[in-house]
Assembly symmetry: C2
Homo-oligomer: 594 residues x 2
C-alpha cells in the first residue's frame, strides 16, 4: 500500500466529487475514475485542446497533460450546449430582469428559542422567512416531520427551498448554507423529448439531452396516441414518456456529476395531449367534438407523483396551454420568441410534429395546428434522424459532387431536418427531382433498387422517392396553415414584420433554401429568426422568471384558436402547396427568377 | 323460492340499506340482518319500548312487534348520545349562526361545452363554482384524474366537496346530487379518546364512542410518552393512537349504517403531545427547556396521510394549540365554554390527565397545566373505569347503606370520575376516612386484606387506601393550579364570575360534593357550569362553523401560559391541598360549618 503522504487529494467542482491520486494519474484519468465527463477528441495526446480545466489558484491546464503534485480544487467547464449559437437562450436571458426561479433556496439564520421567546419551530421558521425575505409560505407535511432535527443539528442555520405558486410552499429544509440549486426545463414533443439542466443561480443551461419519445411505437401522432389511451393504454403511454425523460435526466446528472437531490424543480412544456399523458390524465375528450381537455392550467405536482428522477419533494410545473390542439409548448415558443411583447405583427411557426402556427403581437394572438407530421424530426424518412452527432445538417450538390456537414461525430449516420430542407432545395436546383418531387431516373446520382428510386449521399445515407414526398407533404401543410391563418384575419405574409421559426431540426436553418422549397414564404429574409427548440427555451425562461410565468398565463388566456380541419380553405391551400415551391409561382417571385 | 309478489321491500333511513321480507320477519329482525342496531332491552317481547321506529306515512311502531305487509320506508332514530343532557352541545349549536362545515358538498349543474364554449373541464367547473357559490378553489390532483368521466357520466350535474382553508380545495367530485355529508369530531386525550359522527347538514351529533388510548401501556402521562418516542417508539405510539381511533369510527359507522366514503372531514382536538404523536411528529423538544413544539398551527392533511378510516380524500384539521403544554384540546374547551366571548372573568378547569386551567375572558387569557393524572378517568384506581355502561356515576352512604346509580347496564363493573368524587365526599361525611384520607379501620364497612384497607361497594367494586390517596393528589393538583394561576394575576376565586368544568368523567358532576372534597372552590354554586367533554364539543363546533375556526385561531394566538413546574407557590399550594377539603379551612367556610 502506498503511503498516503505521497498522494494528493483532488476535488472536482461543481460536483464536489473527490479522489486521491494513486499512481501519478492525469486529471483526465482521475475525472474518468469518478465518471465525470471531460471533452477530449485526441485520446489524451494533448493536441485537441478540448480538455481545458481550471485549477483554483493556478489557472487553466489541459486535464490530459496535468499530473497533480499537491492537493487541488479543479473546476470543470460547465457545458452550455443549448446556449451554443442559439438565438433563444442568449436572447431571453437578456430579457429576464431578475432571476426568480420557480424554486428558490434561501439561507436563514434563526434565533434559537428561549423560555421568553418560545415560539414553535414552524412559526419561528415562517417568521424569519417573512422578516428577512418578505415571503409568506406554508409547509409540506413531510418537511414538517424533519424540521426540528434539522434546525437543532444545524444550530438554527438552515436553507429552505421555497416553491412559488398561488401560495408559496416550503418544500425542503436543509442544514447550513446550501447554494447549489438546479432545475430542469423539459420539452415533451410528440416525437422528440428534450431535457435541459439549468443552474437556478446563474440561469445558465449546464447540459442537455434529447431522445425520441418512447411512445412513438404506440402511435405516431397525437390522435393515434389518444386512440391507444382509449383502448386501455393510458398507463402504458404514461410509463413510456416517464421512461423517456428519466434516462435523459440521469445521463445529464451522471455527466455533470450532480445529484438528483439537488434538482428542486422542473418546468414542462408539451402539447395538450403530451401533457395529459405525462400526468396520466385521460385525453379521450380531446379528440371528440367539442374537443375538451381536462385542464389547460394544471396544478403543480411533486416529482414523486409522476416518478421523475428528481428529489421526491421537487415541484413540477406544466406550462399552461390554450386548448386541445394548442398546448404549453406553443405558449413556451411564444415566450422564447418574445412576440407577446411586440407591437409589430409576428408569425411563429413550430416545425414540430403538430406544426403549430401563431399570428399576432402583444395585443392579440391567433393560433392553429396543421399536423405537419414528424418528417423534420427524422420519423417516416428512411435515413432520417434527430439533430444529434452523426446527422447531416447541411448539404450542397454541385454537378455530381455532394458536400455535407455533420453536427458532430465522424461518420454520417443519417440526415436531420435542416439537412432535408437543404437536400430538397439542392435536388431541385440540380434537376434531380422535378417540381412535383419525382426523381429524374436518368440522373446518374439516382439509383433504382427494387422499384424504389434513391439519391445516395453516402453508403449509409440516402433519400428515396417516398421520403421526398413525405417532406413535400410536411412543408405543404405548414405553408397552407400559415396562409389559412393569415387569410382568416385578412392578412398576407407581406403584412407580417417578423417570422419566428422554432424546432429542434438542426443548429440552424438555411432560410434561403427553406424558401426555395416553399416551406417558408418568399419575403425579405431579414424577417426570419430561427429560435431553435422554442418550447425548451420557453420552459427554461419560465423556470427562471416569475415575470415569464405570469406572461405564460396571460398568453394562454389571450390566445384564440382556428380549427383547420373544418376549413375548406386549408385543404385547397394544402393541395396547391404540394409542388416545389408551390403551384402558384406568383407567391415565390425570387424562386421564379432562378 | 317464494314468489317476489308476497315479499315487501323495506328501506331503512338514514343509511338507505334495503331488504326484502322473506318469512314475515319483524322490522327488528330485518334491521339485524342488515347489521343495523336498534336498541332493545326486553329481547323482542314488546315490553321495554326501546325499539320505537318511525314508518314514513304511518307513524311510530315497536320494531320488534311490526311485521311489514307492504313496501315501507323506516326511519331509525338518530342517536344523539353526546347531546343527551349535556350543556355543551345544545349550548354552542344555538351560538352558531350559520353552519359552514369544514368540508361542504355543493351541487352544480354545469352547461355542457360546445364548439363555441370549449373551455377545459377544470376551468368550467371552477367557473360555475365561482359564479353560483362565490367560491374560488383549486383542485387536488387525484380528483382531476377522474373529473372528465364524472362530468360526462352525470350529464354535467355533479356534487363537489370543497374543503375550506387558506385556499379552498376541491377534494372530491361525485355524479349527480349528493346531500349526505358527515364529519368527525375527535378528542385525543392522554387517557381517553372520543369520536363523534356529525351530520354536516344539520350540525347534529349522530353517534359517538369513547375508549382508552391504546398508548397508555407505553406511558401513563405525556412525559413518559415523549420518553418512549425518544427511545425509538414514535412509530409505535403513532400506530397505537390510530388503532384507538379507527375502531371507534368503524363501530359508529356500523351502528349507524353509513359508509366511510360519506365522511369527508375530521377536526381533531388533542394536547400538544397527542397531536404530535397523531401526526407522527417527533415530540422530543417539548420536554427539553425551552419546551418547543414543532408546530402549534398545523397544515391540514388527508386521511390517507395518517391512515384514518375515512375516505382517502377526506381532510383532517387539527385544532391549533398554544404551547407545549396547552394544546388544541384546551382551545376546543374554551370554544365549547364560550368564555372567549365573555366580558366577565371566567375560569375553565379541564379535569383530564393534564389538568389544564384557563383564566380570562374575551380580552385576555392565561393558562397552565397542573398534571392532575388520570384518576378521574379511572386509571390508577383499582376499580376505576371510564364513564360508560357499568360505571357507578353517583353514590350516597347513609349509616351503613350504600346507594349508587349506574350510567347504564345492570351490574356495577367499576366507578367513574363523578362516582369517585361522590364517594370521597360520602366517605368523609360518614367518617370512614379522615381529612388526610386515612381509612378508619374500626368502621364496619372497611375491610382489611393483606395489609390493604378497602371500602367495598359491591362484590366487584371497591376503593382501597391507595385509590383514595390518588384521588386526593389529583384534586389537590387542580385546586393548587387554580390558586397559583389566580395569584399570578392577583385574583382570588371570589373575583371569578363563571367557572366551567370540562371532562368526560360522567354525565354530570355533583358540584356540592366536589366542593366538599376540595376539588372545586367554595364559592356560589351558581358560578359552576359543567360542560362535559369540552374538547370534543369544541372540535364539533370547529367542524361546523367558520366563525369557530377563526375564533380558535384567535384564542391560540392570544393565550399566555404560566409554567407551574418552576413556581414554588404551586408546590406549597399542592402540599396544603393534600387534605380534604384543605389544610386551610378558611378557604372552605361552607364545609367548616358542617
Amino acid at each position: 500500500m502506498k503511503s498516503k503522504l505521497n498522494r494528493h487529494k483532488v476535488i472536482f467542482k461543481p460536483s464536489n466529487k473527490e479522489i486521491y491520486t494513486e499512481d501519478n494519474e492525469t486529471l483526465l484519468e482521475l475525472a474518468r475514475l469518478l465518471d465525470l465527463k471531460i471533452d477530449s477528441a485526441c485520446g489524451g495526446m494533448g493536441s485537441c485542446g478540448k480538455c481545458v480545466v481550471n485549477i483554483r489558484g493556478k489557472g487553466k491546464v489541459l486535464a490530459c497533460q496535468y499530473h497533480p503534485d499537491s492537493d487541488l480544487v479543479v473546476e470543470l467547464p460547465i457545458r452550455e450546449s443549448l446556449g451554443k449559437g442559439k438565438f433563444a437562450f442568449s436572447k431571453f436571458l437578456q430579457d429576464i430582469k431578475q432571476i426568480e426561479p420557480f424554486t428558490k433556496k434561501i439561507y436563514l439564520e434563526l434565533e434559537p428559542p428561549t423560555l421568553q421567546d418560545n415560539e414553535d419551530d414552524l412559526s419561528r421558521l415562517k417568521r424569519f422567512l417573512k422578516e428577512k425575505q418578505g415571503i409568506d409560505a406554508h409547509i409540506s407535511f413531510k418537511v414538517l416531520r424533519k424540521l426540528p432535527a434539522v434546525l437543532r443539528k444545524s444550530n438554527w442555520k438552515v436553507t429552505v427551498t421555497v416553491a412559488s405558486g398561488a401560495k408559496n410552499e416550503i418544500i425542503e429544509v436543509e442544514p447550513g448554507k446550501v447554494e447549489q440549486n438546479f432545475g430542469l426545463a423539459i420539452d415533451i414533443g410528440t416525437t422528440t423529448v428534450a431535457v435541459a439542466l439549468v443552474d437556478l443561480l446563474t440561469g445558465k443551461v449546464i447540459d442537455s439531452e434529447t431522445d425520441y419519445n418512447k411512445q412513438i411505437p404506440l402511435g405516431e401522432d397525437v390522435l393515434s396516441r389518444i386512440n391507444y389511451a382509449q383502448n386501455g393504454g393510458l398507463e402504458e403511454l404514461n410509463k413510456k414518456v416517464i421512461e423517456t425523460i428519466n434516462p435523459l435526466i440521469l445521463t445529464i446528472l451522471q455527466r455533470t456529476g450532480f445529484d438528483k437531490r439537488e434538482v428542486s424543480s422542473a418546468v414542462v412544456a408539451g402539447n395538450t395531449v403530451m401533457t395529459h399523458l405525462f400526468l396520466k390524465l385521460d385525453p379521450e375528450y380531446i379528440r371528440i367534438e367539442p374537443y375538451i381537455p381536462i385542464a389547460n392550467h394544471l396544478p403543480s405536482i411533486s416529482a414523486s407523483d409522476v416518478g421523475l428522477q428528481m428529489d421526491d419533494y421537487a415541484k413540477i410545473h406544466c406550462v399552461p396551454g390554450v386548448s386541445s390542439y394548442v398546448g404549453g409548448d406553443v405558449v413556451a415558443d411564444i415566450i422564447a420568441s418574445g412576440m407577446n411583447k411586440k407591437q409589430k405583427l409576428c408569425l411563429l411557426i413550430d416545425l414540430g410534429t403538430n406544426g403549430e402556427i401563431v399570428l399576432g403581437n402583444k395585443d392579440w394572438m391567433l393560433s392553429c395546428s396543421c399536423s405537419a407530421g414528424p418528417a423534420f424530426e427524422g420519423i417516416g424518412i428512411e435515413k432520417g434522424m434527430r439533430a444529434v452527432d452523426g446527422a447531416i445538417e447541411s448539404l450542397t450538390i454541385s454537378d455530381t459532387k455532394i458536400k455535407y456537414k455533420l453536427i458532430g461525430g465522424e461518420t454520417a449516420k443519417g440526415i436531420c431536418g435542416s439537412g432535408m430542407i437543404d437536400l430538397l432545395a439542392e435536388l431541385l436546383k440540380e434537376k434531380i427531382i422535378d417540381r412535383a418531387g419525382e426523381f429524374n431516373s436518368e440522373n446518374e446520382l439516382v439509383k433504382v433498387e427494387a422499384g424504389t428510386k434513391k439519391f445516395v449521399i453516402t453508403k449509409d445515407v440516402w433519400v428515396n422517392d417516398s421520403d421526398v414526398k413525405n417532406i413535400i407533404r410536411t412543408k405543404a401543410a405548414i405553408f397552407a396553415g400559415c396562409r389559412t391563418l393569415l387569410a382568416s384575419v385578412d392578412k398576407t405574409f407581406e403584412d407580417v414584420d417578423e417570422i419566428f421559426i422554432a424546432g429542434g431540426l438542426g443548429n440552424y436553418l438555411d432560410v434561403e433554401k427553406a424558401v426555395q422549397i416553399g416551406l417558408l414564404p418568399d419575403v425579405s429574409r431579414k424577417k426570419f429568426k430561427f429560435i431553435g427548440n422554442g418550447a425548451l427555451a420557453g420552459a427554461h425562461a419560465i423556470l427562471l422568471s416569475k415575470e415569464k410565468r405570469d406572461e405564460s398565463i396571460n398568453i394562454s388566456k389571450k390566445m384564440a384558436y382556428l380549427e383547420l380541419s373544418t376549413e375548406n380553405k386549408f385543404m385547397d391551400e394544402f393541395t396547391s402547396a404540394l409542388f416545389i415551391p408551390h403551384t402558384n409561382l406568383d407567391l415565390f417571385p425570387s424562386v421564379r427568377k432562378d
